[in-house]
């Protein structure tokens, strides 16, 4: 069976793709022989890229995202576009324009979101595969944790965002998933580094991150933030996470408790900033130049409203309306600007902690992957609260990795490790120690 045929089988079973390539190309390089799947919001030249939204149905990007071009240059073949929450708007990958992906460990449960499809393919592929994923507020860590794979969210700006269909530009980070820490580190090595097309990309050259995957935690100082183990975190999850932390200790790390008092404010700050930026990013989608089109009827206000009402899903509409509200005259200072100032406090939390420790360790998600029936009972605000453990590092733009650390209720649990800006090496080192001992 060819890799493409296998991808179709995975899709039939788990609805992991929005688009599958006709053929797998490839060449020589670090990723020779590897199929790379790409989250649907990352543009691939000539391949429909919708960011999981009906309003972008039919959009064929006329260029490759920089990360995709870098993969091609290292010999990878592009397998297809993986399922996601519409524009990244979700924690459970149920807010989609093209069907909901299923968790390979239990098809009645969520894959996590928003990079759900990426996690599924990573978990089940029996061929050499790596996934390009993307995180705004936890969209790599969450599905990696729920599906039991390794997910790396790099430092903000470590990878170029050229070719990323924006959710919230000051938060979006393209990252990667793999079955193992070393595999994920290989893809990170390929996709990191400067790019003339992105004004916010960092200027430091990439490194060989695989060289850090030595399974040794000797000398690492691990900080455990008490705020990440509070109410709402499932005790079964806490137990497995502590198993992971103990592993690090036994592999030579020292463990101390740290405090990050602004964690509890990160959720509001994150959602306000993300929605404010998102609501402006999505304004361009109006049925004129690409994506969904309708017959040109009415004046422009009427036509744009018609297309947008039809094309956006429920959660997208909610975030657009909320985002528009938070930046309106009269509310802008109290919400948008206030959130940006609180973000400064959250960043300071991390900077303070990293003066004393190398790595922060916490649960990735407060629970294991929930059942779809449970998710259906949640109010939107309860969805948002599920991100409480991932939004702070995403606001601060620090790199993070979710690495499997055991199972609870038969479902994978993820250990979340975070380091200071541009310290992806330490992250890979610590995660490899957890993984090696498992």
């Amino acid at each position: 069976m060819t890799t493409i045929e296998k991808a179709h089988l995975i899709n039939e079973k788990y609805k992991a793709f929005n688009f599958i390539a006709e053929a797998l190309e490839g060449g020589e390089g670090l990723l020779s022989g590897v199929a790379v799947s790409v989250k649907d919001n990352v543009c691939v030249n000539g391949m429909q890229s919708t960011a999981g939204s009906k309003i972008l149905e039919g959009y064929i990007p006329p260029f490759d995202a920089t990360v995709v071009a870098k993969c091609r240059a290292e010999g990878a073949g592009i397998l297809g576009k993986t399922t996601q929450d519409e524009f990244g708007f979700g924690t459970f990958n149920v807010n989609t324009g093209y069907g909901v992906p299923l968790n390979p460990h239990d098809p009645e449960r969520s894959t996590g979101g928003s990079s759900g499809g990426a996690a599924v393919v990573t978990a089940v592929a029996d061929f050499p595969h790596l996934a390009i994923a993307e995180s705004t507020g936890g969209s790599i860590s969450c599905p990696a944790s729920f599906c039991g794979v390794v997910g790396i969210t790099p430092t903000y700006g470590r990878t170029s965002r050229w070719g990323l269909i924006d959710y919230a530009n000051s938060l979006d980070k393209i990252g990667c998933m793999g079955k193992t820490v070393r595999e994920a580190a290989l893809l990170l090595t390929v996709i990191s580094g400067p790019d003339k097309y992105d004004s916010t990309v960092l200027h430091e050259p990439t490194q060989d991150y695989t060289s850090y995957a030595d399974g040794c935690a000797e000398g690492l100082k691990i900080g455990v933030p008490e705020e990440y183990f509070g109410e709402g975190v499932d005790t079964g999850v806490t137990e497995k996470v502590w198993t992971g932390i103990k592993t690090l200790e036994s592999e030579g790390a020292t463990v101390t408790e740290v405090s990050m008092p602004f964690t509890k404010h990160s959720l509001s700050s994150y959602y306000i900033i993300a929605m404010a930026e998102a609501s402006t990013n999505l304004a361009k989608l109006c049925g004129l130049r690409y994506g969904l089109h309708m017959p040109l009827e009415g004046n422009f206000d009427e036509y744009f409203s018609e297309v947008r009402t039809l094309g956006f899903g429920e959660e997208a509409k909610r975030r657009i309306i909320l985002g528009t509200f938070t930046r309106m005259a009269g509310y802008r200072d109290a919400y948008y600007l206030k959130a940006l100032k609180v973000r400064t406090k959250v960043i300071e939390d991390f900077k303070r902690a990293f003066k004393h420790v190398d790595v922060l360790a916490a649960p990735t998600m407060p629970v294991v992957a929930p059942k779809f029936s449970e998710i259906a009972e949640l109010e939107p605000i309860q969805h948002y609260m599920m991100d409480i453990l991932t939004v702070a590092p995403n606001l601060a733009g620090v790199p993070m990795i979710s690495v499997p650390c055991g199972e609870h209720l038969g479902m994978p649990v993820g250990l979340h490790l975070m380091t200071d800006h541009l310290e992806e090496g330490k992250l890979v080192k610590a995660a490899s120690a957890v993984e090696g001992a498992r």
Partner: protein, 95 residues
């Protein structure tokens, strides 16, 4: 900000500005959900941000600029749309 009242009228006004049409049922639902969300946001009031600078990015770069060098992009700008005529995009009327 704790005095912000999220009601149907405000939601309708904001949705109109965002060019999204809501049915009456949707208006009720969104108003209810948004009220809870915006009320939750008001917890930010507790944070003293006096004299705190906003962070527009997690890591602030500066003066990332392009030299003024023109380059043509070989592509078909109309390749993704059905609304075109004589090399123009076709757009809806103004009024």
């Amino acid at each position: 900000m704790s005095s912000t009242v999220i009601d149907r009228d405000l939601v309708r006004r904001v949705a109109e500005a965002a060019h999204i049409k809501l049915t009456d049922e949707e208006l009720d639902k969104y108003a209810h959900q948004m009220k809870a969300i915006v009320e939750a946001f008001t917890e930010l009031d507790q944070v003293d941000t006096e004299g705190v600078e906003p962070s527009f990015h997690p890591i602030e770069l500066e003066n990332v600029l392009r030299e003024d060098e023109p380059r043509d992009w070989a592509w078909n700008p109309l390749g993704n749309t059905v609304h075109k005529e004589n090399k123009y995009f076709k757009g809806p009327r103004i009024t």
